[in-house]
Structure formats: structure tokens, C-alpha cells
Subunit: 335 residues, 2 copies
């Protein structure tokens, strides 16, 4: 075997493809040499493009195929049967990479995996997973999840995604597992509307997009916060500004975090109570810029969790960062 | 291989041991002959005893060992290395059968597995799991979970327990996975106290013991319900009486179910959103006698669940009943 694999990260803004060498071998030695693992987790060659405004499945898939063929040509292995694994920002059904819905990419009911297979030809094995699942698989093998058998990964960015590994296998259920952003935390008449269309999801409270939108509306409606000065204007306020304000004792920001932090903490606690993992791995663009919110959430996690489940738990930060999706995708590809 | 195995179900009231033949072979053909599976799931010989009032680990474990040896002698296989698997009503740590706590059996910090191993000698492999996990493993191989790869099992009886199978493996985490009774559903000042010591667990709302205790207190405090006539006295009211009253339009019972049903439904929904299983299997002494409550919970499940996760979901009743624990125990034993 060549131990070559291509990982793809297809999100609402960027599409990225990377060719790896030796990833499976490094993943297979989870207690082994961290340095050679880090080397294997670095792409041999890679390409990035903006998804742009033309988002119909056919042209996007044609561009993906061209990126893949370009990578293979650049690495001098255009004739090799290199497997391809994709982390996709949407909800999937089944194990062929069928997209049920992706608000970010703008697709509904698209047989993505089969369309890409048809485009690439039978030489390339194609695996598709939800992007958060791909990230979890990457962190498990090459990042903060190395050396244990069960992990839960929660990414808080624009939205909230999750992934889990149980008994050293990726949890995918019927294709839509670990949609932790859509765990319900409020079910009374106050429940906030989520981007998914339902109400009361944790993403409607703690997702970055929703935090920003809510804070801007409340600040435009007369609430006062130091976050506005930090941001320059109400319209520029984001979770990072709110967290910086909270750190300096700002009443508005502290009040918002006192609501959002415990809700996020309860969701984390309930997931830990169910999966009882050895590691809970937190990442994403919001959590990395909101240490005060993170602290509130972790405090609530410890109050709400089933105590025996926390004994063996270590809470870690995701370490692969932007690379997690392509690394996880390449690992999902096999090869 | 003889394909013999002993399954044990050790709860707060009863201890039961059963010897099975051909269980592993029947379990290994999940799409196969249901009739021979049903035959294999019937014990060759079995014994039952009350746990009684002497509950120190040493005498209880000595009685278990005597039951096991009695079964083996009765079946004429006293010299064979028959493996033993136990479903235990408590929370465990690690993979050696260490008991953290069992309110029902009355144990805390007991190295149960190792004590039983020492008593039985090296000939017998001993596996210990939480009882709900053993039930899930039994239903997966020989009951309502046959033929799929992912299931979630929720038992509502005196308390609430759960188990799950992901990618055909039992989810045990660090020994305390799927303690779904201790998922939090209320975290404000009204949160009810659970038997576990914490507040706001679903078991504090929908566990049979807690429903009975709460209803009796409210009825003794002046609330009126037809459940009292059905039960004969306030002190005899149980969830079955309340459900029968609710079915006839009783305001008190309907009000209670309108609170408890949605809470249980949200817990089921959130578990389905996370695991995205092909089957959700419901069982236990409360749910089997409370069809109205069950209906409320299932209705709430459909409102709260992430829609793609419910597409592939079938909700089933547990089919192994009282046998699930010993069948699951024997399957955990291997052999």
C-alpha cells in the first residue's frame, strides 16, 4: 500500500483538499511517536478555494474533482487509486454520502457521494461524513483524543457540531449522529428559534451566529455593554467582544453568559453522562475566543454531570485546528 | 467450544442465575432463524433467590458462587470452564466490575468482579456490566434490536436505566455509560431531588418510585384523583393507577402526565439526536403499564428530535422482559 489519502473539508465558505502520506500508519500507533504523527498529519500538498456564489451541486462537485486531480498530478501519483474522504458541513443519511440538508452549503437532498464517485471513476474510494464527525475522527487519531477508546468532541463556531468515538469506532448512526447543536435545552414558550427551523436547540443559544445576532438586537434595542466600544459598533459585536466585556465585569455580557454558559454546560454534562468518555474535546471559533463563557460552561458541566462519569473525564482543547477536517477526512478514506 | 454461558441478574430485590446453550451462535446470526434464537434464549437451567436483608458483599457473593456451582452441577458440566456474565443494578468503574455505588443493592466501592473471580477460581471468565447495559446487549442480540447496528434502550421502572449499542458494540465508556436516568431536565430552583443525590434528573420526574411518592404526597395534601379509588388508598397509588385515571380524563393524572411525559420525551429525543440509532427500545415495569404516559412521551420525542435522526428510527417495545438481564449477562460472558 502507498498509504496515500486525500482529505476534503467542504464548508459554507471554503473548500479545501489535502493529500497525506503515512497517516493510517501513524494513526494505527496511538501510543506511539507523537513527532512522526505530527509529521504524518501535515499535508504533502494541498489546495484551497472559496466555495463562492455558484453553489449548485454539479459545478461544486466538478471543482472538487478538479482539485483532487490537481493534487494527484502535483504529487506525481495521478495513476494511483488514492482514496478520498470528505468532511461535509451538513446532515447526511445512510453510508453513501447522501446529503439531507446543508444550510451552509445550500444543498437539500443531494446524492453527493454518488455524484463524486461517478465523477472520479471507480479507482477512487469515496467516503463522506458530517464535518464534525470527520473532525472527531481526526482528533481521535492524531490530536487530543489519542490513546483512549471513547471521546466526545464539541465544536462551537458559527453553529454547534459534535462527533464521538465509541470503542474506537466513529459514531455515525444512520448518518446523522451527534448533531449536538440540535439537542433541546428549552421547551417552553420562551424557546428561541434555531437555524434548523425548530425551537430550543442549544445552537439557538450558544452558536456564534445566534449569540451575535441576539446581542446586536438587544444592544440596538437599548441594552448597554462595553462590548460595543470593543467592537467599534453594535453591528460588529461578536462573542469575542462579549467575552472580553464579561471579563471586565460588564453587566450585559455577564448576564448573557450566565444564561448561555449553563445551557451549554448542561448539554455537555448530559452527553458525558450518556457516553462516559475518557476525553471531552472542545473546539471551534467561538470557544477559542470566549474563555469566560467556556469557564461558565465547564462549571455547569461539573454540577450537572452524573458524578461517576466525570471521574474518568479529561476536558481538552482540540489541537488540530483548521486541519482537523482534512486530516479526519483522509483518515475516513482509509487507504 | 461448548457454547455454554451463565447469565446473572443481580438487582435490589432478586438475584437470578441461568445457564444457556448455543446463545453465542444464535447471536452471531442476527438475520437468521428467529425460532432457533428464541430456543437459545431459553435457559437450560436456572435459579432465583431473594437478595434478602443480608447485603454485605461477602455473603451475597458467596451465595452467587453457590448458585453458579449449583447450576453447573445440575447441568452436568461442573468441570467445564463456563464463562459468567453479570448485569448489576449499580454504577461501575473500569472494565473489571468495580462497583462505585448501588443504592438498590446497598453497595459502595466494592470490587465485585474481582471478589467473584477469586471465589470462582481462574476457570471461569467473569464479566460485569450495569444491568441496563446487559439488557441492551440482550435485546440487541436476541430481542427487539436484532439485525441493526445501533440501538438505544431505555427502561423506566422503579428508576430509569439505559443502554446502547453503537456499530455492533456495547457502549460502556469508562464503566458508567448510558446512565440516562441522570440526564438533567430541570436546572432552576424548582428542580426535584433525585435518589442519586443531585437535582433535576429525569428519574426524579419519570422514575416509578418518584412518580408514586410525589403523587401520594400531593394527594395526601389535598389533590383529588380517580387514581385513589382505583388503587384503594392514597398509599397504594402507583403509575399504573395514574395512567388508568388519565385515560378516563382525570384532571390530576392528566396534569401530572402533561409535565412528566414531555420531559421523558425530550430525554428520548436528545438521545436519538446524539446516537441516531435505527431502534429505540422501551421497556420496564412503569412504561409497560402506562400507555397514556408513553404516548405523551413519544409525541414530545417527535417534536423535539432532530428531524433527520427520526427518519430511520423505529420505536419498539423490549421483548425479552424479565429474561433480558440473564440473556444479556450470558452474552456478555462470551463462551
Amino acid at each position: 500500500m502507498t498509504d496515500l489519502a486525500i482529505g476534503i473539508d467542504l464548508g459554507g465558505t471554503n473548500m479545501r483538499a489535502a493529500l497525506f502520506r503515512g497517516l493510517q500508519a501513524a494513526a494505527a500507533t496511538p501510543h506511539g511517536d507523537a513527532e512522526s504523527a505530527a509529521v504524518a498529519a501535515r499535508p504533502v500538498v494541498e489546495r484551497r478555494e472559496k466555495v463562492g456564489s455558484e453553489r449548485d451541486p454539479e459545478p461544486v462537485i466538478a471543482r472538487l474533482a478538479a482539485m483532487i486531480q490537481g493534487l494527484l498530478a502535483e504529487a506525481g501519483c495521478a495513476d494511483l487509486p488514492v482514496p478520498v474522504g470528505i468532511g461535509f458541513a451538513g446532515m447526511l443519511r445512510g453510508d453513501r454520502g447522501y446529503v439531507v440538508t446543508s444550510p451552509n452549503v445550500g444543498w437539500r437532498e443531494v446524492p453527493f457521494g454518488d455524484l463524486l464517485r461517478a465523477k472520479l471513476g471507480p479507482r477512487h474510494n469515496v467516503a463522506v461524513e458530517n464535518d464534525a464527525n470527520a473532525i472527531a475522527w481526526g482528533e481521535y487519531h492524531m490530536g487530543a483524543g489519542r490513546g483512549v477508546k471513547d471521546i466526545v468532541v464539541v465544536y462551537v463556531g458559527t453553529g454547534i457540531g459534535g462527533g464521538a468515538v465509541v470503542n474506537r469506532t466513529l459514531v455515525n448512526g444512520s448518518g446523522a449522529a451527534l448533531e449536538i447543536g440540535h439537542v433541546k435545552v428549552v421547551w417552553d414558550e420562551t424557546a428561541r428559534r434555531c437555524a434548523c427551523g425548530l425551537k430550543g436547540c442549544i445552537e439557538a443559544y450558544a452558536g456564534g451566529e445566534q449569540i451575535s445576532r441576539r446581542a446586536r438586537a438587544e444592544l440596538a434595542g437599548g441594552a448597554r455593554s462595553a462590548a460595543v466600544e470593543l467592537a467599534g459598533s453594535i453591528e460588529a459585536v461578536n462573542p469575542g467582544h462579549l467575552d472580553a466585556a464579561a471579563a471586565e465585569g460588564d453587566d450585559y455580557a455577564l448576564g448573557l453568559w450566565a444564561e448561555v454558559g449553563p445551557l451549554l454546560g448542561v448539554v455537555l454534562a448530559n452527553a458525558v453522562t450518556l457516553f462516559n468518555p475518557q476525553r471531552l474535546i472542545l473546539g471551534g471559533g467561538v470557544l477559542s475566543r470566549t474563555p469566560v463563557l467556556r469557564e461558565h460552561a465547564i462549571a455547569a458541566l461539573h454540577v450537572a454531570v452524573n458524578p461517576p462519569a466525570v471521574e474518568s473525564l479529561v476536558v481538552e482543547n482540540a489541537v488540530l485546528g483548521d486541519d482537523a477536517g482534512v486530516v479526519g477526512g483522509a483518515l475516513l478514506a482509509g487507504g
